[in-house]
């Protein structure tokens, strides 16, 4: 069986760090000046939430070889818990974010123990089924308000000083959350842990024979991925001021997969590019109704048949750099 991605470019480690650092500084600089350019900040904030979500998903698929078709459950769970904590319990925003992240972490521990018992496509089907189980639970439990969702979530003042109802302040808080999550993932994939994870992706049997307890590594990657997806869910609540069933539905899980696939599986920056590309496409084509779904399907098919490296993966391959 061929490896899932061929986005691994072999270069000396010194240059890899150099290239990735340059792109990271460029990305941060561009994102930092967005509020001064007059670009609609809510679009970029939404993009940042999905970019973090896709990066977390990519940690699991691109580096661990595990395709989760239920990542929306972390986004939705963190969103519901964060929204409930802010609106009903009157938590300040920083504690609301933490509450959402903790909920996603707990969920990822419970679902991870079940899901990593199977590999490959079974793992994908199991995560999809688990997410659907949660969807029905959230549809029926009273605190989520069913089809209406939790609306009008107050943004409040972070640490008592940062007024999040001001768009610029909110923007930099969301950017800070995104960069924190991005760097955490970057650190993880370049650590010894990340190296073992890539070894498992390439050849799990060999990793086992070398003495690695691969299930523990996969579970840890799953929990890390789910927790950071939860951070994206909490931030998204602060931006959108609501939490709804859309965020737990399987279509959302599919969109996460699509963003990562378009950007480039197993690349550092691919999921960010893919998330912004898909969000932008949805914005521009919003008036075309269900044709958006059809176009997403076509992108899936085209990507899988001809474009498996994704945008960033193709660029990296062309320049023989690691991005």
């Amino acid at each position: 069986m061929a490896a899932l991605t061929d986005n691994t470019v072999r270069t000396t480690s010194r240059r890899i760090i150099g290239d990735e650092m340059i792109v990271f500084i460029l990305m941060t600089a561009v994102l930092a000046i967005v509020p001064m350019t007059g670009i609609y900040p809510y679009f970029v904030m939404q993009g940042l939430c999905f970019a973090l979500l896709a990066c977390a998903f990519n940690l699991l698929l691109g580096y661990g070889g595990l395709l989760s078709f239920g990542h929306a459950m972390f986004l939705g769970t963190a969103g519901y818990v964060c929204a409930h904590a802010l609106k009903v319990w009157g938590f300040p925003p920083e504690l609301g974010i933490v509450a959402g992240v903790v909920a996603a972490a707990l969920l990822s521990i419970v679902t991870g123990v079940v899901a990593i018992r199977r590999q490959g496509i079974y793992f994908a089907m199991i995560t999809l089924a688990l997410a659907q189980l949660l969807y029905f639970i959230y549809l029926q439990t009273p605190f989520t308000h069913g089809e209406d969702g939790i609306q009008g979530v107050p943004q409040g003042k972070m640490f008592g000083v940062l007024d999040l109802s001001h768009p610029d302040t909110l923007y930099y808080v969301v950017l800070g959350g995104f960069l924190f999550g991005f760097l955490a993932i970057y650190r993880a994939i370049n650590s010894p842990f990340g190296e073992v994870l890539k070894a498992i992706r390439e050849n799990e049997q060999r990793a086992i024979s070398l003495g690695y307890k691969t299930d523990q590594y996969k579970l840890l990657a799953y929990i890390l991925s789910g927790t950071l997806a939860g951070l994206a869910g909490s931030l998204k609540v602060l931006v959108a001021q609501n939490a709804s069933l859309t965020d737990v539905h399987w279509t959302m899980s599919g969109e996460i997969v699509l963003m990562t696939l378009v950007g480039g599986l197993g690349t550092v920056f691919g999921p960010v590019a893919g998330a912004f590309a898909i969000i932008a496409m949805q914005q521009y084509l919003a008036g075309f109704g269900q044709w958006v779904t059809v176009i997403q399907g076509v992108i899936f098919v085209v990507c899988v048949l001809t474009f498996r490296r994704g945008v960033v993966g193709e660029i990296a391959h062309y320049f023989k750099r690691s991005l």
Binding site: F69, Q119, V294, Q296, G297
Partner: protein, 291 residues
């Protein structure tokens, strides 16, 4: 606790009907997976296409239920074989996950196109006149059409099992699953067999769609949520055995029906909860081999 036999048997009947659809769909998934190593995410979409095909045959060409029962699976099966020849074929040798992603994309395209033209509401499809009415069994009233659906799917399931496990063609198929290169060396056209197998699996799903058209209305998203339940059924049963998929499908339908009677709040989730329990106790699934 007193049991209302009338209500209980009504829910059991609904469970058996759903179980027949689970069995037909998971059987098709297992057949396709055995040959192509692909989990067909578009299975729910082709199920829906089967129902729509019957609807078009009736309303555009005036072709009734009985011919549609044969024609719709054949037409949708041909559509499936075309997608196999033009797309899925190119995924051979790649990671299995790409097959899942490609068929997911196909499902989005098919469902999106139908949603554009038919919205999300249901279209009615009448029960054929021969199967209208019902029989009073004393403890319950059995609508004839529902009894027919259960019998028909049981027969088709067992026929498929016979075809694969007991005939020469099935022997080739099973051999090609184990070692395609060797089977090709014996002069058997394996690529054509793969195409036909995909057509067969898709045709089974379309047949389930035609059977369900008079019961559940014809809707563009009728297969979208169903396929996730069927995935859970497949995880529970394992895809190693044809008979295993059939029995698991019917059994889970019945369990779902019982849950609808005893604890209706959990009827949407019971299959998923069972999947979790099975994974904790026997990760390979009830009949599955280790993967």
């Amino acid at each position: 606790m007193s049991i209302n036999l009338q209500a209980l048997s009504a829910q059991l009947l609904v469970g058996l009907i759903n179980g027949s659809f689970y069995a037909l769909l998971s059987l098709g998934l297992a057949v396709i997976f055995g040959m192509l190593n692909i989990i067909n995410f578009a299975h729910g979409a082709v199920y829906m296409m089967g129902a729509f095909c019957a609807y078009f045959l009736l309303n555009v060409f005036g072709i009734g239920y009985w011919p549609a029962l044969i024609l719709a699976p054949v037409l949708v099966g041909i559509f499936g074989m075309l997608t196999e020849r033009t797309m899925l074929k190119w995924l051979a040798g790649l990671d299995h996950l790409y097959g899942l992603l490609l068929t997911f994309g196909l499902a989005l395209i098919i469902q999106g196109v139908f949603q554009n033209y038919f919205g999300s509401s249901g279209l009615p499809y009448a029960i054929p006149s021969e199967l209208q009415g019902g029989i009073n069994l004393g403890f319950m009233f059995l609508p004839i059409y529902r009894g027919w659906v259960i019998v028909c799917s049981l027969v088709v399931c067992i026929a498929t099992w016979y075809l694969i496990e007991r005939t020469r063609l099935g022997a080739y198929l099973r051999a090609a699953t184990e070692n395609p290169t060797l089977v090709r060396a014996f002069g058997i056209n394996v690529p054509r067999m793969i195409t036909l197998t995909y057509g067969l699996g898709v045709g089974l799903a379309a047949l389930a769609g035609v059977l369900s058209a008079p019961i559940n209305q014809v809707r563009p998203l009728m297969g979208a949520d169903l396929i996730i339940v069927v995935f859970a059924v497949v995880v529970i049963g394992g895809m190693g055995s044809i008979m295993g998929s059939i029995i698991t499908g019917f059994a889970l339908g019945i369990i779902e029906g019982l849950t609808k009677y005893f604890y209706p709040e959990a009827s949407n989730t019971v299959v998923f909860v069972l999947m979790v329990l099975v994974l904790l106790v026997k990760p390979t699934g009830l009949t599955g081999r280790a993967v």
